[in-house]
Structure formats: structure tokens, C-alpha cells
Symmetry: C2
Subunit: 393 residues, 2 copies
Amino acid sequence: MKTMPDPAAALLATIGQRVDLIDTPAAVVDLDAMERNIQRMADFARKHQVRWRPHAKMHKCAELALRLQQAGAGGACVQKVSEAEALAAGGVTDIYISNEVIAPAKLLRVARLARQLAGLGGRLAIAVDSLEGIARLAEAMDAAGPDGAGIDVFVEIDVGQGRCGVPPGGAAVPLAQAVGGHARLRFAGLHAYHGRAQHLRGTAERRDAVAAAVEAARATRDAIQAAGLPVPLVTGAGTGTLVHEAASGVYGELQAGSFLFMDADYAANEREPAQPAFEHALFIKTQVISSCGTHAVCDAGHKSHAIDSGLPQVAFLPPERALRYANGGDEHGLLFADSPRARLPAIGRMLWLVPGHCDPTVNLHGHLVGVRGGLAHGVVERILRVDARGAVT
Amino acid sequence: MKTMPDPAAALLATIGQRVDLIDTPAAVVDLDAMERNIQRMADFARKHQVRWRPHAKMHKCAELALRLQQAGAGGACVQKVSEAEALAAGGVTDIYISNEVIAPAKLLRVARLARQLAGLGGRLAIAVDSLEGIARLAEAMDAAGPDGAGIDVFVEIDVGQGRCGVPPGGAAVPLAQAVGGHARLRFAGLHAYHGRAQHLRGTAERRDAVAAAVEAARATRDAIQAAGLPVPLVTGAGTGTLVHEAASGVYGELQAGSFLFMDADYAANEREPAQPAFEHALFIKTQVISSCGTHAVCDAGHKSHAIDSGLPQVAFLPPERALRYANGGDEHGLLFADSPRARLPAIGRMLWLVPGHCDPTVNLHGHLVGVRGGLAHGVVERILRVDARGAVT
């Protein structure tokens, strides 16, 4: 892995520095915990004989996508064309844009990227959910000329997410056929991701939601195969439900990405016994900058961590000395000591936060500081550049 | 003003391009509306004979800070040291870090920046709210050596925000005295910002909240002056309440920043008659990428706009054809046509969103696309780089 000697990174932390000297607020990765999570996921996928293609929209680092491939992952998922371009620039050659792309100018970039990755022995895949989208994609792929590449195309079905995708069953058949009708498009299978199921708190709720998704995917697959088209793969699943998709016999590939860092929201799920014991590996290091009698104030607000899935939690404190983080706006967090034995932290004190949601939290940072040897006494081993930060197009 | 020919900006939009060709999602500034907002604010400040130092934590662009100074603003506020450094690199020389800074390494950067700006004929100011903070700041300023610069120091008092700051009244006196006791620190006055009051919806509520803040600031000023120290300035106010601080006779400087772009949250306030009629000038351009029978899906989610102050609103549609934006996650928005005459937009349709909160929305983008001639038929005039994007330290 490479280290990044750029000026912004150097202000944040330097290689070999002790953890307590990392500037705040900073997004810090416990590399030991992250690598244990990778090993758990690799073991899980091997045991269940299922492919895994972790979603890079979570970590947005080419270096981490490559690290996951070393551990057995079959490429990376991304959500946006600009994310795919950023990962490709960092050396990732097997990328699936698990989302619909409609704009002609962006589809020309997709076609260029498909050709670039094919030239490197890799491949690009994309999702579609409309005849319009397929026609536009085919036009852009054809515009690349006679030496253009092909692209793998997944038809997205809505298995309960209520967002993109055609209804399961017969509606997917004409889309699969339309894909199959273009020389540059290869029908690669079904995209069947149930995002809402990831955050259902109870194990039974998640199991039931995914059971319905599995049946929907199976019925759709059967309908397409009955029309004479093979369905090579059903892809989907996230960190909250991957146990069920892996055991389904229908899903052949898991897209879970959050397992790498784990966030407070996923940790709030009741844990499925078969689920690997993923640990928190991403933290926000923050520092107390003000303290009055009633509360203290730290320097991490919602420009340092996303709050769409709840506020962060203060980590590594024993329950009787817990601090409660309350919203202090863009740049501040308020800390309250609710229990009788808890004490407000003094000015200058360093604290660690577990973000509510990793994906949009990572997107706020230019770099992630990778620490080896634990967050209490470890040292900075590498600084990961967030290659696709802000890559929303 | 300069235009930025960098590759990421060029993919988003090119100078002279028609609005409909700007890639999506994109943060787009209606330059005409923005300039009308600047003129309104300049007129207001002149009429009330009050200084204004707009908060650059909102727009994060050196180019815009300089544009505001051309219109009469007296420098820029920022919230973080790295923001100050980013603006200084872009040519801004009069900067107030309206926040507490505690880390010794960061205070050394403050001292360096103070010296740099003083060398350019500018100045740096900072807020404090503890003796510890003052001692650390003084130590860093002294460490800069005999040819180091001075720094203006504001004592922050809590006038109702409930975040940083000492209580109003006597508690601020020893802090002002401590500042006055260091050769490199100049006591510049009081920082008295009431953030919570900005978002109280009713005009009477906001008026009453600021009336209490004004009395608190006045009492504190009088206590410090009674101790023999002049209080050169009381600084504070935001876009929601600036009418009241401007008329107070106590506040000499307004920090309001959001007036420049206006967001959905500020627009939801009941409007004070004396308030200038600020317009929305920041929009997220988005495109429909999927559409089923019940809803459409656009390509802007909460990686494109912050949702801490509510979801964005779909702009420029007549009421009977209004679309409701619902949260679709990091990268998607769900669009519902609730009224009988409304129609779901087709795949490829462009829409404009007004973000709930400008500050953290701008922070998600590397560039803002500046359009001249209106969003319906205008052209791209310039691409503003968000110099301090992600500058949280």
C-alpha cells in the first residue's frame, strides 16, 4: 500500500506519529480491527461459497478496494460514475456501478471506462431498470466505435427497498431481452438489493424481509430463464442481512461494504448468531475545546460525521462514566455526563466517537488516518486518501 | 474573479455551457440572485451603520469572501484554523476564527497565520472562553519569536446558544483581563452569537431571544468597562436575527453568512418586515434516473445535500404540480406527486432542489457552478472552487 505525503494529510498526521498527536477532528481507522473484519468476511464468504463484491461507496479508497480483493473479494461496487473513475485511477479494474445512469454525457464516460478496464484485463458492469436506460447505454457503447468494449448489465428489481428497480417477476423479462439484443451489452443477471431490510432491528424481521426478497429474486430469475435467457448471477445484500442472502441458494454475490468499518447504526441491530462479529474500525477523534458547568464541547460536529442515521456515540468509556453526545451544529458536539459518577471531560481531553453511518461520514474527509496497535497507544501506519470523496456525479 | 480549469470542475460544467448541460447532481449558484443578496446586505449594513463580516463557513470560497469585501464587508469569519488557512491561501487577509482553539499544534499554525496576514497588512482574530485557552494561545504566539505578530482576541459569552462561551456578566471580566495581560494578545471585544435564535420560526420569538442576548452582551460589556478595559466591539448575529442585533446599539458587527445563498430552513422563518428580502441562490441540480408507477427517483441524496435541517424542496414548480422530495439514502431522492394534477417526472428530467441547510451542503461539493441569466436559460459564467471543503480541523 502507498502512503500519501500530501500537505493536507501531513497536517492531520504523520507516519509513525503517536495516536494522541493526530489533529482533531480526524477520521481514524483502527487497522487491526479493520483487518480482522476483512478476515471474518473472507472466511464467511468461503464457508458459504458465495462471491463478495464489497460496496466501495462506503470507504471510497482505491487502496482499500485492492486490499479487499487481495483477501478474496471479486472487485468493487460503486454507486456513481465518478466513483468508478476515481477507483479506476487508483488501480481497481473490476467495477460494478450498481445504479442507473441516464445522462448521455455520463454514459459516454461509462463507455470509455469500460474500454479502459477491458484493456487492463478487467471489466465494468452497470445496473438498468428501464428500456430508456438500456437504449441510452447501448447508444453510448456503440458511439465508442468498432474497437469499443462490452459491458455487463444487471437488471435491477425492487425486492422491498422501494427505490429503483422494476417489480419482480415478468416485468424484468423484456429488460433482460432488450439487454440481450445489443451486441455491446451482456446480460449479467439481477440486481436485488433490499436496503431497508439492513436496518430492521430484530433478527426475525430481517430474516422475513430477506426471505421475501429471495422469493422475488428467484421468481424473476425463473421467469427470465423460462424466456430462454440464462441468469448468470443474482447480486445484492448488505452488512445487516448478508447471512440470509448467503444461505439463500439464489444470491451468488454479496455487496456488503459496511462490515469493513461498522457503524453505530449497524451495531444497534439485534445480532444474528451466524453473523460474523464485525467490530467498529472507524472512529472520529475529537478534542474538548470548551467546558462549562453543565456540559463540555468537542470539535466534531456534523461536518465531521454524518447524522442521517443518528448521532455518534462516545467510545471506550466504562458505562458508569459514559458521556452522551448531543448535536452542537456543524462544527461542535455537546457532551453531557448523565450518570452520577460520570465527570465532564476537561479542556484538551481527547475522545473517540463511533459515527452513526460510515458511508456519508467517510465522504466528509479527505483522508483516513490508519493506526496500528490500537487507539490507546498505537501509531500512525498509513494515511489513506479518500479517492472518491465528493464523487456524486 | 478567477475560473478554475481543473479536471473535476471540467467534467461538471464548462464556461459558457448552457444550464441544461451541467452534470448532475451539482451545486449551482444563481449569480444574479446572489449578487442581489449581496447588494441587499450591503444596503442594510450601510443604513444601520453596522459592520458586517459574513461567515465563510457557509460558502468556503475565497473568491466569494473577496467579492463580499468588495461590497463592503469587513473581512470574513471562519470556524476552523484550516478554513482560515484555505481562505488566506486564496487571498483573504482579514479573518476571524470565531471559535475556540485548544490544541498546541493548531495554535502554532494560528500564530504563523497571524504573522503571515499581518505581513500583508491584514489581521487575524480568534475567540476564547477559558483561561486555559488564553494561556495556550499566548504561549503559541510567544513561541513565534520576537518578530511574531499580535492577534485580536474576542471573549465568547453564551447569550442563549448553550454551546461555548462563559456566562454573561462578571465571568467574562477575568478573561478580558487575562487577554489584556499578554503582549501579543489584543482584547478586541465580545463574541455573542445566539445560534438557536436564528431558527425560531416566529418573529416575536426571535425578537425576544435577541433582546435577551443584547441585554446579556450589554451587561458584560459594562462589567468589563467598569473594570477599566474598553470593549471595542460586540460581534454576532445570523441571517435569522440580524435585524435585531443591527438595531440594538450594542452589536457593532454582524456575522450573518447564509443570506448569500439562503436555504429552505431560513426561508421557513416568519419574515421580519425589516429583514432584507434575501432569495435562494444555491440549488442542487438533479436528474431523474428511474421512474415506476408510484414515484420517481433522482440522483441527489444526502451525499449531495445536507439533511440536518430538513430535506430539500423541489423548486420552480407551480403549487398544483408540486413534487415532494423524500429521503432515498446517500445517493438517491424519491419524488412523489401528491396532488391530483401533479405528474411524476420522466426519466432524464432535470429538477432543482433548494437545500435545507447551505453550510454543510456546500461542504459536500468540490465546486459550485455559477450561472448567469437564470436557471431556466442561463449559461455557466464561472466555476467556484470550494477552497475550504472538508476543512474541519
